[in-house]
Structures are given as structure tokens and as C-alpha cells.
Amino acid sequence: MQSLKTADIVTILRELKLSVENNQQLLGELDGVMGDGDLGLTMTRAFTAAAEEADRSEEPLPGKLLMRLGAVIAKAAPSTMGTLVATGFMRGGKALDTTSQLGPRELAVFFDAFVNGIMERGKSAPGNKTIIDTLYPAARALQTAAAAGETLDSAAGRAYVAARQGLEDSTQMKAQHGRAAYYQDASIGKQDGGATVGLLIVEGFYKVIVR
């Protein structure tokens, strides 16, 4: 695929919905170790609502649609991750402005705004063992690939690899936000639920792009 159009965004949302559903139990378990265990449930709620909205929506511009999806997620999943992911979609969508197709450059802009929105909202940074630690490397990879003139497929592939590496790296980090932060050093070595969600999001985009 050379660029994402509005219809592709809808497909991605359907993909994301299936993906979190399939991983609902895993996410719940990861969040259960050091959090309250609701992550699987809330992410399923979030992406079910977003996928339904995407199906229903007649919004022609991808950016506007993505913003709208953010608002829907915020309402459907009022948890930390719900709010952060919602923020990501809203900020990412806003950054796209009136773009009608997303090539490597636009996808990089989207993910950059996405992760920056989360960092701003969560007052957090890379290295804190959160969703940022998968999204941030993915966004950087997209930027690099776009600057090098790579194709969308190739850029998405690099982003996916970077996110996977990010998840691995983040597992060795010490949690500094949310409930997990109470566990301090004990959090080292444990996989973070939020980082996992970040990976699933990147993966969803990747899969649809290279399909």
C-alpha cells in the first residue's frame, strides 16, 4: 500500500478491535501484576467503540476521522490508558489537518503527534516504562524512514520492529507512573501492559499497510 486513505483507517480500526479482543486476557494479566487488571477490558471497550464509530462515520478526511475516534475512546474508556490513547488519536488526527492521504511522511507526523500528545498529557517521557516506550521508537523509525524516502510498507515495517524492540527494552525499565510506580525496583523485568497496547496499535497499522 502506498498511502492510507480514509477507508484504510476504517480497516485499521477493525483490525485494532480484533487485536485487543484477542489479547484481552493477556492485557488484563499484565495490568493485574502491578495495576488493577482492567486494561484488557477497557481497551476492548475503547476499540470496539472506535471501530463502530469508524464504520458509521461519513467523515471524508482521515485526520478529522482520527480526531473523532479519539473523542469516542475518551468517552468509552475513562481509564488512564483510555485517556492517553484517546489523546493520541486526537492529537495525531489534528496534526494531519486537511491531508487526504497518509504516505510515510504523514504517518510519521501522525505518530509523532500521537506520542507527543501522550507525553504531554501523562507528563511522562521515554524510559518511564509506559506506552511511550513502544510508540516513541516507532515514531522515530517512521521519521527516519520517511526522511530516507522509503516506501510506506517499508516505513511501517521499521516502525513495527522498533516497537517490538521498545517493548523488550521497556520490560527492563523501572515503572514511574500509575499504580505500577509503587512497586519501584520490583517492576523491573515485568512486561508493561501499556507498552503492550502501544505495540498492538503499531502492529495494527503495519498489518493493514502490508496486507
Partner: protein
């Protein structure tokens, strides 16, 4: 108590039926509470929100001369951005909405989000994050301080100015001024219990106390054997005075707040010593508020807040207010 999982919603149903006309829930959500009656066109709306378990905080100050709406979270949990947005929609009369809330991560995230959503709908929103617990971060790092009972003063004064028809910018400015001029410190004698959890959030021995503990049981600055009321007040007041600092000739308002299980008798015994210290330091007291203004379930303990007044703040503080939990005639 009934089913702990219904704690918040049953409480809210009880509050709404107890104060008909004064409080109503909107958007079909008991957790979105706004002031009853018609909106005043052109009046800046003031919204707040936060976790349950702190009554009268947060919804208790909705009413004439104070707040217009509140989003209510679970016990010690932030309400959602969406609930905040519903409240914002319900109270905006075109003049914009000011969010005033305490400095807690979850609340900030959700209010930020709500502000962004409201902005998308064309509602002007400004925010003031109150944080004045001297024990929660050192001088120089005021921005990290937790918001506790002192937020009452922010509500009271911003609410009075909004009631006069001031602009969103002006109401925000005065709220920031109050926020900057108030200092709080507390002492806990027993832990608090979250109903759904059912056990104390931390342990404190029979004859132990902890100075500076947060209202969710966040660690304080000194734990030790129980001291006398006078010793506690001396210690806390010393910290408060040097922090702002309050100086000879200043005029202040006092808020003596019980955390939930402390007899009012004890609060007045604390107040006695506080007045003596302030008199000695030649700091005048304009008004003393005593009671439960920000609690933590059945935690035993108290906090002392001091607000430095100037002519503007004094005038606004003195104005009447009429809410379910706080009523004041013109002082």
C-alpha cells in the same frame, strides 16, 4: 455500608435527594453534578472534580457564591474526561468555564483532556491546579505539591468573583492568587479505609502520628509518638509560616480541617494554640473556619491552612455563599 461497589453511587443518590433544587445530576449520569436552577447568562462557570471519599470535597461546594459543577470519581479515583466534559457543557453559559482541582496525576490528565474536548466544541476553558500541602514537596518545587483542604479558599474566592460577573481571565487570575497565597499541613492519627478495599491503606500504631500525611495516606514528613496538641500546632504552624512566608503585619484566614474522625472539640484545642502563635507573631486573623472541609473517610487527624489576605481576597472571602456543605452570611 451496603455493597462497597455501590458506595459512590448510593452516596450520590443520597446527596441528590437530600438537596433537591440545590444539586442535580446531568447527562443521565449520577456522577455529573451541577447546580440546580437556571444558569446566569454571562457568568463564568466553575467546575471541579476528583475522587470520592473526601466530602464535602468536591461536589459539596456547588451552589450560590461557589461552584457550578463537579465530576465525581470513584473512591480516591479521578472521574473521566467525558464526565468532566458533560459537566462543562451543562454549566457553560457562553462566558467560559474555569476548572479548579487538586494537583493529582489522574485528575490533571482527565481535566486536560476534557478541556481539549470542550475546546473542540467551542467552549472556552481555563484551568487552575491547586496544590498547597507544604509537606508534599519542598519550597522551590511548589508545582509538585498536592492539593488538600486549602482548595476551599480557591473555590470560595473564585466563586464570589464569578458571581459578580467577572471575565474568565479575571476569575482565573484571582484563583491563581489564592492558590499562591495558601499553605496547608496536616497530621494523621489513624489510616483511612477505601470501602472496596476494606482494609486500612497503611498502618499507624495506637500512639503514633504522622505529620504531613496526604489525604489518601501518602507518606508525610515525620512519623513518631503522639505529641500534645500544642506541640503539633507549634510544629505545623512554624512550617507554614516560614514557607510562604507569612510575616508580622500580615492578615490571614484560617481553615482548621478535620479529616473525618476527629472530634470538633480537638480542632478547637488546636485552634486555641494557633491563635496564640499568630498573635505572638503579630499576624491578624480575619476569619477562622473550623470543621470538616476536606476529609478522608474515617481518617483521624486534622490539617491547618493559612491564607494570606489582601483587600481583594478579604472582600471576596467575606461574601455570602450557600451550598449543601458550606453556608455563610456576609462576614
Amino acid at each position: 455500608m451496603n455493597d462497597p461497589r455501590l458506595f459512590v453511587d448510593e452516596m450520590l443518590e443520597g446527596i441528590v435527594v437530600a438537596h433537591p433544587g440545590q444539586l442535580i445530576s446531568v447527562a443521565g449520569d449520577l456522577r455529573c453534578i451541577v447546580r440546580g436552577g437556571d444558569k446566569t447568562a454571562g457568568k463564568v462557570g466553575i467546575a471541579t472534580g476528583g475522587g470520592s471519599g473526601h466530602l464535602p470535597l468536591f461536589l459539596g461546594y456547588i451552589g450560590k457564591g461557589m461552584l457550578d459543577g463537579c465530576a465525581v470519581g470513584g473512591v480516591f479515583q479521578s472521574p473521566s474526561a467525558d464526565q468532566m466534559l458533560e459537566v462543562t457543557r451543562a454549566i457553560d453559559s457562553g462566558a467560559g468555564v474555569l476548572y479548579i482541582y487538586g494537583n493529582y496525576g489522574g485528575d490533571i490528565m482527565n481535566f486536560d483532556m476534557a478541556a481539549e474536548l470542550a475546546d473542540m466544541e467551542g467552549i472556552k476553558v481555563e484551568q487552575v491546579v491547586a496544590g498547597e500541602d507544604v509537606a508534599s514537596a519542598p519550597k522551590g518545587e511548589e508545582g509538585k505539591r498536592r492539593g488538600v483542604a486549602g482548595i476551599f479558599f480557591v473555590y470560595k474566592i473564585a466563586g464570589a468573583l464569578a458571581g459578580e460577573g467577572a471575565s474568565l481571565a479575571a476569575v482565573k487570575k484571582v484563583a491563581e492568587k489564592v492558590s499562591a497565597g495558601v499553605r496547608t499541613m496536616g497530621v494523621a492519627l489513624s489510616p483511612c479505609i477505601v470501602p472496596e478495599v476494606g482494609r486500612p491503606s497503611f498502618q499507624l500504631g495506637e500512639n503514633e502520628m504522622e505529620i504531613g500525611m496526604g489525604i489518601h495516606g501518602e507518606p508525610g514528613i515525620h512519623r513518631g509518638p503522639l505529641q500534645t496538641a500544642d506541640e503539633i500546632v507549634t510544629q505545623i504552624t512554624g512550617r507554614l509560616l516560614e514557607d510562604l512566608p507569612f510575616r508580622k503585619g500580615d492578615e490571614v484566614a484560617i481553615l482548621l480541617n478535620g479529616l473525618g474522625a476527629t472530634p470538633k472539640e480537638e480542632l478547637y484545642i488546636l485552634g486555641r494554640k494557633l491563635h496564640r502563635i499568630l498573635k505572638e507573631k503579630q499576624i491578624t486573623v480575619f476569619h477562622t473556619y473550623v470543621g470538616e472541609f476536606a476529609t478522608s473517610m474515617e481518617m483521624a487527624g486534622a490539617s491547618i491552612s493559612l491564607l494570606r489576605l489582601d483587600d481583594e481576597l478579604r472582600r471576596l472571602l467575606a461574601q455570602p455563599a450557600d451550598t449543601p456543605f458550606f453556608t455563610q452570611f456576609q462576614l
